[in-house]
Symmetry: C2
Subunit: 333 residues, 2 copies
């Protein structure tokens, strides 16, 4: 049975969670006394929602599984799904399609990392390469779609994707309570923002709790921060950051949601991102990609400390897919 | 009250567990479908006991806390404890002494990794450097001991250390059962062997369960494998391996215990160690040092596959302290 496009509400997010729960991991909410001590955050406990341990290594699995299991009609399954992506959305969509044994067609820029290409391939996706430009990706996607009849699954700028990503917050609420912390005592939740699917989803899901939601963005890809500051979504900014998952501009559908709900967008330098990634590996022993470490980088920043937040702080570590052939950024700095 | 030296029995290990539980982590028993699929182990589920997530980043915390909390008389506390170590035993002993606020004196070879030196220092230890040779370490330790009156805590060749390390198995038993797996259905437990404190402890603790215990050793430091093969403990072998925690020869007290209980010692190449370390980082997203990855390397090896083991396999990932300034071994191979 085909489902209607979900409304952008907490109810929809709860329904999405029910749909995807059999397929995704409930990722752990990690703590670290030594990292808490290292931030100068006083007694604010740090809680890391480890979406790097999610299926496919990123929160993107949530939206992908929800799109595939909720958004594809029976008669559309044969044609499968398609998307263009150089990163985690590609791999996670491949994984989600495999769960229904439907075809997955990926358009990937020719400069995508070998690790991400081989991950997508190992999940059984058909990959078409294109020039690494937005028009080339779009043109190639249309070509693939025309040939295969596959349904396009958008990486962030769509209701099902936003609602799917928002499910991460429902787990955080339950995990925080299980730790004996009251939701109203949380100081903040900090979420990396690229296209804004995750941030918009968390904004909607967390509204009822009253927990202040912050976005975290590289200074070299700060279109969301600029947009929130000016009130108008920023287009055409040329990103320059190691956080490859956050180079995309915030989506048309995502921006007004974020603008309405978010307390603020924190920006961080490249060095702050690398230091955060390194500390997570050194102390938590957990591998997070630069994009995923931006939330922790933001919490370690002076900008965050000036907010004077009191109470435990939740950070989403959004992904952990790193090309391990190359040295880490801090090794070559 | 000073306690007598514990007997090398499961009862002692249970008592040690009660003593150290308030101070150590119950580390998780991790699973990974993708790693299980990658080993060619058929349907043998892989269970990773993540001692890289232990306090101080290594199983060594178990023996260190037990020594400090059980082995130091009231009147000896003022003088504190001492040891010589270039690695995890140093940091973990520093951590354990801090829990009782007693002095910790460490003799570290001058070529110890800056990461391990700074970890030990951050836990409040007094560090004396020496030439990186066994006689120099011994001589410097005696000097420090004479000056301070500190009690020597041996890294592996002592009852309390063996019994402390064996506590890891008690947790594995409970965790395996909580997963709905019967102990008698386990195919094997595989444990890295350097000085042999961990392996001897697991041998004693696991005997009652009948689970087959295997040691895992780098081919470039295979004194234990040679000793078991010939029946006589091997001395004087010059180790050559990246697994710095496994370069020590198996201890005098440890060897006969291992010889009596172990089903076999598996040896692995340097490339197999690096591949295992890399896979754990890539798929489990968990940082394990080369020594800690030797157990997984062994399970991936042909030698292990020839054993024809049926049933879930437990591997102890013994530590996760890596010098993150330097590229990983596989990056420069």
């Amino acid at each position: 049975m085909p489902h209607p496009v979900p409304s952008l509400t907490r109810d929809s997010i709860q329904r999405a969670h029910t749909t995807i729960q059999p397929y995704i991991h409930q990722t752990p909410l990690l703590t670290s006394r030594s990292l808490t001590a290292s931030t100068g955050q006083g007694n604010n406990q740090l809680l890391f929602k480890a979406e790097n341990l999610q299926k496919g290594g990123a929160f993107k699995a949530r939206g992908a599984f929800f799109n595939v299991h909720d958004g594809i009609k029976e008669e559309e399954r044969q044609g499968g799904v398609c998307t263009h992506s150089s990163g985690n959305h590609a791999g996670c969509l491949a994984l989600a399609s495999r769960s229904l044994q439907i075809p997955c067609h990926l358009v990937m820029p020719s400069n995508s990392s070998p690790a991400k290409i081989s991950a997508s391939r190992s999940y059984g996706a058909n990959i078409t390469f294109c020039e690494p430009t937005a028009p080339a990706r779009q043109a190639m996607l249309e070509k693939v779609q025309k040939k295969t009849g596959a349904i396009f699954v958008p990486p962030y700028d769509a209701e099902r994707t936003i609602v799917g990503q928002g499910t991460v917050w429902l787990e955080v609420e339950a995990q925080v309570r299980a730790m004996g912390i009251r939701l109203e005592d949380l100081g903040a939740v900090v979420v990396p923002v690229g296209g804004g699917g995750l941030l918009a989803g968390v904004c909607i899901a967390a509204e009822a709790s009253g927990v202040p939601v912050y976005g975290a963005e590289p200074a070299g890809a700060d279109d969301c921060a600029r947009g929130i500051a000016s009130g108008v979504r920023v287009e055409g900014l040329v990103p320059n950051t190691i956080a490859d998952g956050l180079r995309t501009p915030v989506g048309v559908l995502n921006f007004p949601i974020i603008k309405k709900h978010v307390k603020g967008i924190l920006t961080v330098t490249e060095t702050e991102i690398l230091t955060a990634q390194r500390l997570l590996l050194e102390r938590l022993k957990t591998l997070v990609e630069p994009s995923g470490a931006v939330s922790f980088a933001a919490v370690r920043s002076e900008g965050f400390q000036r907010l004077g937040i009191k109470g435990p702080v939740v950070m989403v570590l959004s992904g952990g897919n790193v090309d391990l052939e190359k040295p880490f950024g801090w090794m070559t700095e």
